[in-house]
């Protein structure tokens, strides 16, 4: 490994109590993110990736397990000094900024809350942050009303950087933006990481974006991490069958066919695992299941030091066909 882990997620489980049942949103997840690295967490809706992000940023507390940022444990209650070190960039830039407050006030708020700098120092910092995200400091006096989605997301990123955080949790930061704007935001995020030495935890369902931004990927399915490894390995040689499905689901337009091609024999419907299910959660959708899949829940095992997967009937290493379709 390249350095000390900045973020360590250790056997974290999150249960939600529903009216009649219990939902296991995050099921015994362990992950590490190295300093200056970018880990992408991918998975479909309901895979638990957003809940995991909520646990890390502290809007919810884990049912069991522990999350560490360096030497500090991240519970749901955390002191300001800890909160300062993590920032969140949300999915929807239209809801992220208060329509009745100026952009300066929005970016200033974290500094005021944390007592960073006096009035003029904050003023300079807001101008500097706006320049960092390639917006004009002249924008500071305006309210978000007339801003585009991309501009708003830049302001949200500037606000996230206001406390000089170490870890940026990016919850689908480009999914509600136009494709052309997405590319600019991704370029900005890459640039900021380089300049400021940031560590990113990146929640997304867009594998094309993963390729651009992330160095490592964790694939989640129904609350569990089913595969984790470097981006190149996951894209070129995925082992878990669910990763295969995700990669195959990237819509591609081939030359031979007219339309969008999706040929993979998976069930698309998400079947909730039956009560007290023992086997693999992906079993109901997996055409490659073997007998053991019904009875054994596969553990996330290292195939080498960097690449782990939880599949009893994995793809062979040379299976590369599904990894080529992404937007690169």
């Amino acid at each position: 490994m390249t350095g000390p882990a900045l973020l360590r997620v250790c056997n974290v489980t999150k249960r939600f109590k529903l009216a009649h049942a219990e939902l296991l949103a995050v099921d015994d997840v362990s992950l590490e993110v190295q300093k200056f690295d970018t880990l992408a967490i991918v998975g479909e809706s309901g895979s638990g990736k957003s809940t995991l992000a909520n646990l890390i940023v502290g809007s919810e507390g884990a049912s069991s397990g522990a999350i560490w940022l360096g030497d500090t444990e991240l519970g749901a209650r955390r002191d300001k000094a800890t909160r300062r070190r993590i920032a969140l960039v949300q999915q929807n830039p239209y809801s992220a900024l208060n329509p009745r407050k100026s952009i300066r006030a929005a970016i200033e708020l974290p500094m005021i809350v944390h007592g960073l700098g006096d009035r003029s120092a904050r003023r300079r910092k807001v101008d500097e942050l706006l320049r960092r995200v390639h917006l004009s400091p002249a924008l500071a006096a305006r309210r978000p009303l007339g801003l585009s989605g991309g501009e708003r997301q830049r302001v949200a990123i500037a606000r996230a950087l206001a406390t000089d955080p170490e870890l940026l949790v990016l919850d689908e930061p480009t999914s509600s933006l136009d494709v052309s704007v997405q590319a600019h935001i991704l370029a900005l995020l890459l640039e900021l990481q380089q300049e400021l030495g940031l560590t990113y935890l990146f929640i997304t369902h867009d594998l094309g974006v993963v390729r651009v931004l992330a160095r490592r990927v964790a694939v989640m399915y129904q609350g569990r991490v089913v595969e984790e490894g470097p981006v190149e390995a996951i894209f070129s040689a995925p082992r878990h069958r669910y990763t295969n499905l995700l990669l195959a689901s990237i819509p591609t337009v081939s030359d031979e066919d007219d339309g969008v091609k999706l040929d993979w024999p998976f069930e698309q419907a998400i079947a909730p695992p039956p009560e007290g299910a023992q086997g693999c959660a992906f079993r109901p959708r997996c055409p490659f299941a073997i007998a053991a899949c019904d009875t054994t829940r596969p553990a996330l095992l290292g195939e080498d030091a960097l690449h782990r997967h939880a599949c009893l009937a994995p793809s062979r290493r040379d299976t590369t066909a599904q990894g080529t379709g992404g937007i690169s």
Partner: protein, 283 residues
């Protein structure tokens, strides 16, 4: 904070609505008249315990534009001073009810859980009782006075603001900027006052304006029933009630006082409607 471009844009849009401008004009005239009553009223002394039987019961003419009452007091002067009574009542009542109801709604809506249940059940209890009946009961318990009338109306009025603000807070607290402020460690008070309240302010202001008319009406109803300010303080509701004894012969007593109430309610309602239209489009 200086006025933003959005504010001036809103003002321009308001100015384009003739009814809203008319309402603003009415309100401005009434407020000015009430403030400068001593200077504006033709016979300021008639506002108090003044008696002039020689000129009693005179119909409107050039000397007494709206006539005189049974003891010779100029009705126009008493209406102008009556506006002062009414506006003081409205401002005092809403000055108590709006902050109280807003605070209750903010806390209930943001805190959730038990605090929310307690605040909103108390609100429901107040809202379940007809406001005039409740206000009458409160005033009736004690000797009628202006202070008591205001307290009674305020007591029945704040729950409306609590409910209004509560509903807005419930949805605003899920907005990204509120989540973001919470995660960065901002205190609940800072979030409620700094992030949520500014987004409720236009709606509160609109309701404030609409309610000024309604509170004046409720205050007048109380004094019509003899539960308002005691004589000789000029009060529009009392004037309508007194004049009703002399209908139809001395028609100007009730009609002018009633018309004065109508004008005030109309003015504040037009302003409220205008504000609502302006704020609706800015979102």
């Amino acid at each position: 904070m200086t006025a933003s471009p959005e504010f001036w844009r809103a003002m321009r849009r308001y100015a384009q609505d003739p009814m809203a401008v008319l309402g603003a004009a009415i309100v401005a005239v009434l407020v000015l008249a009430a403030i400068l009553a001593e200077q504006v009223a033709p016979y300021p002394a008639h506002a108090g315990a003044f008696v002039d039987f020689v000129n009693a019961n005179r119909p409107p003419d050039a000397t007494y534009l709206l006539g005189t009452d049974g003891i010779g007091r100029d009705v126009l002067s008493r209406i102008i001073f009556g506006y002062r009574t009414s506006l003081v009542l409205g401002l005092t009542v809403l000055g108590i009810a709006v902050p109280l109801g807003t605070a209750a709604g903010l806390v209930g809506g943001y805190a959730g859980g038990r605090a929310e249940a307690v605040v909103m059940r108390i609100t429901d209890v107040f809202l379940a009782l007809p406001s005039l009946v409740l206000a009458m009961a409160i005033v009736g318990l004690f000797r009628p006075s202006q202070i008591l009338a205001m307290a009674a109306v305020a007591a029945v009025w704040w729950p409306w603001y609590a409910r209004l603000v509560h509903g807005m807070v419930r949805s605003i607290r899920l907005e990204g900027y509120v989540v973001s402020a919470r995660l960065i460690g901002a205190s609940p008070v800072r979030i409620m006052v700094g992030e949520i309240l500014p987004n409720c302010a236009p709606t509160i202001l609109t309701k404030f304006s609409l309610d000024m008319g309604l509170v004046i009406l409720l205050g007048a109803s109380l004094s019509f029933l003899g539960l308002g300010a005691p004589a000789p303080i000029p009060d529009l509701g009392t004037m309508v009630a007194d004049g009703a004894n002399y209908l139809p012969d001395q028609w100007w007593l009730s009609v002018t006082a009633g018309g004065a109430i109508f004008l005030a309610v109309l003015g504040f309602n037009l302003v409220g409607d205008g504000l609502r239209d302006v704020f609706d489009t800015t979102g």
